[in-house]
């Protein structure tokens, strides 16, 4: 029973990591803490849902479209909110405040589109099968989730560290003026990171919507707050740290819900955050930091 909970926790945590990766990517590269990330995630779930129910898309196609759609929303955020702010030399407080505003706008629109209802995928959206071994069980959905997350994290690492485009992103994050001398267009790089971050959020949104079988305009808020804990635990800006912290948080949350109390799980989660801030503000996985910023 305990091992089973651990497995469930790892799967949930992998999805948290996917959501948190987008946050930590934009923060690590551009020092922008995007509070609208949760809303982009929620829109990923909504797009997936509407494509499956209204347009009869198979789930995999809806999933891909949700990723692209959420990526585009994220690009709009950069164009409409963060770019004007950068032009006027906004500080940390102003980016946080502006993205809180964007979050509110995106959530209110979703509330009106969905009539404030909680939506469910049709029963046969995903063919569920259960595999059993050693008294443990794992569903086909869980296997697909793990495989997807591993592929995406791998793809992100390859993109950032092995491709010319990724080199541009890293160049801008280390020194923006110097990168322009080398022929890099920072405005385009910002669009890339925001698109990637939105894609990751959209993927997480579609997956979470399917696994918990519930999509509502409020789903982004609480999960984004959990993602904040994940990125701090993982060391802000660290990709490997974020994945590790995501899995850890997923396991802790599953265990707390199973053995202590689901109502307390938020309090325990954020309690952990405070302890980490007190003891190791750079995150507990900072030792595994992937180097992508100048020291």
């Amino acid at each position: 029973m305990f091992t089973q909970q651990i497995i469930n926790g790892i799967v949930t945590g992998a999805v948290y990591a996917l959501l948190a990766l987008g946050l930590t990517l934009v923060f690590g590269m551009h020092r922008i803490l995007n509070f609208a990330h949760g809303a982009v995630f929620m829109w990923g779930g909504l797009i997936g849902y509407y494509l499956v129910t209204a347009a009869n898309f198979p789930f995999w196609a809806a999933f891909v479209c949700a990723m692209v759609g959420a990526g585009l929303i994220s690009i709009c955020l950069d164009l409409l909110v963060f770019r004007p702010l950068r032009r006027r030399k906004g500080d940390e407080l102003s980016t946080i405040v502006a993205s809180i505003g964007a979050n509110l706008v995106l959530i209110t629109i979703a509330q009106q589109v969905t009539n404030a209802q909680s939506l469910r995928f049709p029963f046969d959206t995903f063919p569920l099968e259960f595999y059993r071994a050693y008294g443990l069980q794992i569903s086909s959905l869980q296997v697909v989730i793990i495989v997807t997350v591993v592929l995406m994290v791998g793809g992100l690492l390859v993109y950032l560290f092995k491709t010319p485009l990724g080199a541009q992103v890293r160049a801008v994050s280390i020194d923006e003026p110097a990168s322009t001398l080398l022929g890099v267009n920072p405005a385009r790089v910002y669009l890339q990171t925001f698109f990637l971050s939105g894609m990751l959020a959209g993927a997480a949104g579609a997956i979470i919507g399917l696994t918990f079988n519930s999509i509502s305009y409020t789903m982004g808020e609480s999960l984004m707050l959990q993602a904040f804990v994940v990125i701090i635990l993982g060391g802000l800006g660290s990709i490997v740290g974020t994945v590790a912290a995501g899995v850890l948080i997923g396991m802790i949350q599953t265990l707390v819900t199973a053995y202590i109390s689901s109502e307390l799980s938020d309090a325990i989660l954020f309690g952990i955050l405070f302890i980490v801030l007190l003891v190791r503000p750079n995150g507990i996985f900072a030792g595994f930091h992937v180097e992508h910023r100048a020291a």
């Binding site: 803490l33 405040v97 505003g101 904040f228 938020d266 954020f270």
Partner: protein, 295 residues
């Protein structure tokens, strides 16, 4: 007679503006002192529950309730300052949002004391409009005295540049603690008065929504003047009452306002207006500043 009806129909709105102004002032204190805290909603919850529990289960009366909430709010602020006084940048923002989440989930969990999700009802309505006006006047008086004192100038220095403030020998961690305690006390008074004015409280009213409201009010009004917080609150609460479409799209308006104001009018309405007035005056009487410099 019609005059009386007019006044009595708008009394609840007026009361609400007074109470929410206090919440905004709690937020104003943090921003003014250069602390990126979003904790006031949590302090307000603590104050509201302390006040309600005191008046319902002890026979000590309203004044004792208010004093107890002030003490609780200030203690919560000091406790929060322990891990946060050393942190800079986005960490305090994330951690204080976590604090609000913890407080809300504890209020939901501790059912015997707080009534859980149903909250506390049948709280005697002791805070009438004159009481609220007096409370707001007292807090505004206190804050203007503090603003003119050494503490006020230390807050200003820290807000403008932490590093410079530190190099000038200002004990930044100490003033962070003062700031959190002050913000906590004011937020708790607001909560206590809210409980004494509205008969019933539930944990949900103090969540993310209130947090965003407080930040919006201060950003809208202006971060460096007391009047800014109050005028921002009044605009946010009164505007939706003036026109039906504005009322339906309240949150959309709030979000869009946040983005536009922080980008194009980062000083807020009151501070920008003040700046304009000062400029106009100096154009009209160009001799005055020159004489000041000579003296």
């Amino acid at each position: 007679m019609t005059m009386l009806a007019f006044v009595s129909s708008y009394t609840p709105l007026f009361d609400l503006v007074l109470i929410y102004s206090l919440i905004a002032l709690s937020q104003y204190v943090s921003f003014r002192g250069g602390v990126l805290s979003l904790a006031p909603a949590g302090f307000t919850l603590i104050g509201a529950y302390t006040g309600a529990i005191m008046i319902k289960s002890t026979g000590l009366g309203a004044m004792a309730g208010i004093c107890a909430s002030i003490a609780m709010g200030a203690c919560a602020g000091l406790l929060l300052a322990l891990p946060l006084a050393r942190l800079r940048g986005v960490f305090p923002a994330i951690a204080t949002i976590g604090f609000v989440q913890i407080v809300v989930s504890l209020a939901l969990y501790a059912e015997p004391l707080t009534g859980g999700a149903v909250g506390l009802t049948a709280i005697p309505k002791v805070a009438t409009t004159p009481c609220l006006v007096a409370a707001l006047a007292a807090v505004v008086g206190l804050l203007s005295v503090i603003n003119r004192s050494n503490v006020g100038s230390a807050f200003d220095a820290i807000r403008q540049d932490v590093t410079v403030a530190e190099s000038l020998g200002i004990r930044v961690a100490h003033y962070y603690r003062v700031n959190f305690a002050l913000s906590g006390a004011i937020g708790a008074v607001a909560g206590c008065l809210l409980a004494y004015n509205t008969y019933a409280i539930t944990p949900e009213e103090f969540g993310f929504g209130m947090l965003v409201f407080a930040a919006t009010a201060v950003i809208l009004g202006g971060r460096s003047s007391i009047a800014g917080a109050i005028i921002g609150t009044a605009i946010l609460l009164v505007l939706p009452e003036l026109a039906r479409p504005l009322h339906d799209q309240r949150l959309l308006m709030q979000g869009a306002l946040l983005i536009v104001i922080i980008t194009y009018l980062p000083q807020g309405i009151v501070d920008t207006a003040r700046e304009l007035l000062r400029q106009r005056r100096s154009v009209r009487h160009p001799v005055v500043p020159a004489r000041k410099v000579a003296a």
